[in-house]
Amino acid sequence: MLSPQRRDQLTGLALLAPTVLLFAGLIFYPMAQSLFLSLHKVSTLTQRTQYVGLANFQALFADPAFLTTFFNTIVWTVGAVLLQLVLGVAGALVLNGRLVGRSLARGLLLFPYLLPTAVAVLVWRWLFNDLYGLINHVLMSVGLIAAPIAWLSQSPNAMITVILVGSWKFFPFVIIAVLARLQSIPESLYEAAQVDGASRWAQFWDITLPQLASVLSVVILLRGIWDFKEFDLIYLMTGGGPGISTQTLPILVYREAFQLLNFGRGAAVAVTMFGFMLLFFAVHIWATRHHETEGR
């Protein structure tokens, strides 16, 4: 007969068993296989594998196209995260204050986050359309530009457009995280500052921003991770083009593995990305720990 304590523990394990099995089979086993494939040459026809050591990685890092792709990924991630931060903090401040129709405004600002990426892309591609797009039409009719701009098919434009659309789609995350924190800043801090005659601007820099610092650092990490791995939005906006000027690492994985059928090399890119994820994740854990011990 098992002791009640022991039986309780077994119940717990039984409840967790399906989760653990699915994680093992669908996440950890494929992760290991990615690693395995990245060290092999895979024949497209027979899928026979041949161990090649780090050759896939060496070929990758020596390829200028990979370096461009890596650089694009950094530009996209940094650009999108920064713009999201500015828009998100501004949105949160507005929604935290007095505003007529605040809950409607909140809904309208937050909705893009849950909108299917495919829909966001379709609408924006229609707005940015070279010939019939509303944006070119408006800019031309107010005289800002003389001829239609190729928003998505010319080189620096495409990256800028993608960053703009990505920020529009993902900035609600920053709003929601910052808004939750704003509501817990003690009102007394602002009252004291008002007594001292501090301007609104000074209150923002000296009270609000320092209070938000901890949230913002975690928001930067999370959004950084999520934007770093974003495939759908960029691929659907530009397909990585023109040329490879908006190709990011996830798009490269897809191309190598499923368009060029170069499984080993695709896996090598994926594993490289995974290495960066580990780094991000380590920083995330370190930051939250650091913060908990420092906080209280």
């Binding site: 394990l13 992760m31 007529v100 405004a105 299917p116």
Partner: protein, 276 residues
């Protein structure tokens, strides 16, 4: 007096910006209601001069849209049901039981939630092809489990942790076993959390594009995102009004969930892992 005018001006300014952010959505609806010849009219109009549902009608009768829609519903609902059943048990196990490796599992959950889909894409594709599920909706459900399960576990964990332990203990003192207490006491308390987790999982699966693009190569099994995007790339002359009608219909289920989910957005966006 000056304060009041200032407040009115401030509101006007803020609302202009809010409308600017929401504008693409209004433009989508406006275009979807236009007849074809109005789509490319110059100057463009936001509100159609002759609003019509013709695009919706054509979408449902002349294009495979309805097939894509049905497939999307099946995959998203299938994923949600599978994931919720497993995650409710798993989350309860994680929250209420002490055993070695518990915090390791919790960290793993968060970690896998952030894992890039492309890292798993190739091996999952090989596995799913090997077991003969390529081009099947069930294969897609299996693939979606890889992101929906960690997400649901993470969310449910926080909901279940919020249920007072005393209720269960009272039931167990009264002679109910652990499982009885779970079914009779915890589950009913967790219903709101389970419903919102289900809705978020549904949206995640509904919106997914990459796995659907890679795993499904036959038109009659495609889900909405790759299906509708195929419609965009098929024609030389893009029928934007038709595509906007498709976008509107694709957004409706998400909008319905969104309205119900207002209260839980902080958790559902994943922002609850942001500690402040």
């Amino acid at each position: 007096m000056r304060g009041r005018i200032g407040f009115a001006l401030y509101n006007l300014l803020v609302w202009c910006l809010v409308v600017a952010v929401a504008f693409p959505l209004l433009w989508m609806i406006g275009t979807a209601l236009k007849p074809n010849d109005e789509t490319f009219a110059i100057p463009p109009t936001l509100i159609p001069a002759h609003p019509t549902l013709a695009q919706f009608h054509r979408l449902l009768t002349d294009t495979p849209f309805l097939t894509y829609f049905t497939n999307s519903v099946l995959v998203a609902a299938g994923t949600t049901i599978l994931v919720i059943v497993i995650a409710v048990a798993g989350a309860y196990g994680l929250v209420r039981f002490r055993f070695p490796g518990r915090s390791l599992i919790a960290h793993m959950v968060l970690f896998t939630y952030m894992l890039p889909a492309v890292v798993l894409l190739l091996p999952l594709y090989l596995i799913i092809s090997a077991i003969g599920l390529a081009n099947s909706l069930f294969g897609l459900v299996i693939a979606y489990t890889t992101f929906a399960l960690p997400f649901a576990l993470w969310l449910l964990r926080s909901f279940i942790a919020g249920i007072p332990l005393a209720l269960e203990q009272a039931a167990m003192v009264d002679g109910a076993g652990r499982l009885r207490a779970f079914v009779d006491v915890v589950l009913p308390q967790a219903v709101p959390g389970i419903i919102s987790t289900a809705m978020f999982s549904f949206i995640l699966s509904w919106n997914e594009y990459l796995y659907a693009l890679v795993f499904i190569n036959v038109d009659e099994r495609k889900t909405l995102p790759p299906g509708v995007l195929t419609m965009l790339n098929q024609n030389q002359n893009v029928e934007w009004a038709l595509l906007m009608a498709a976008s509107v219909l694709m957004s409706v289920p998400v909008l319905l969930c969104f309205v119900f989910l207002q209260k839980h957005l902080t958790r559902g966006f994943g922002a609850s892992s942001v500690k402040g």
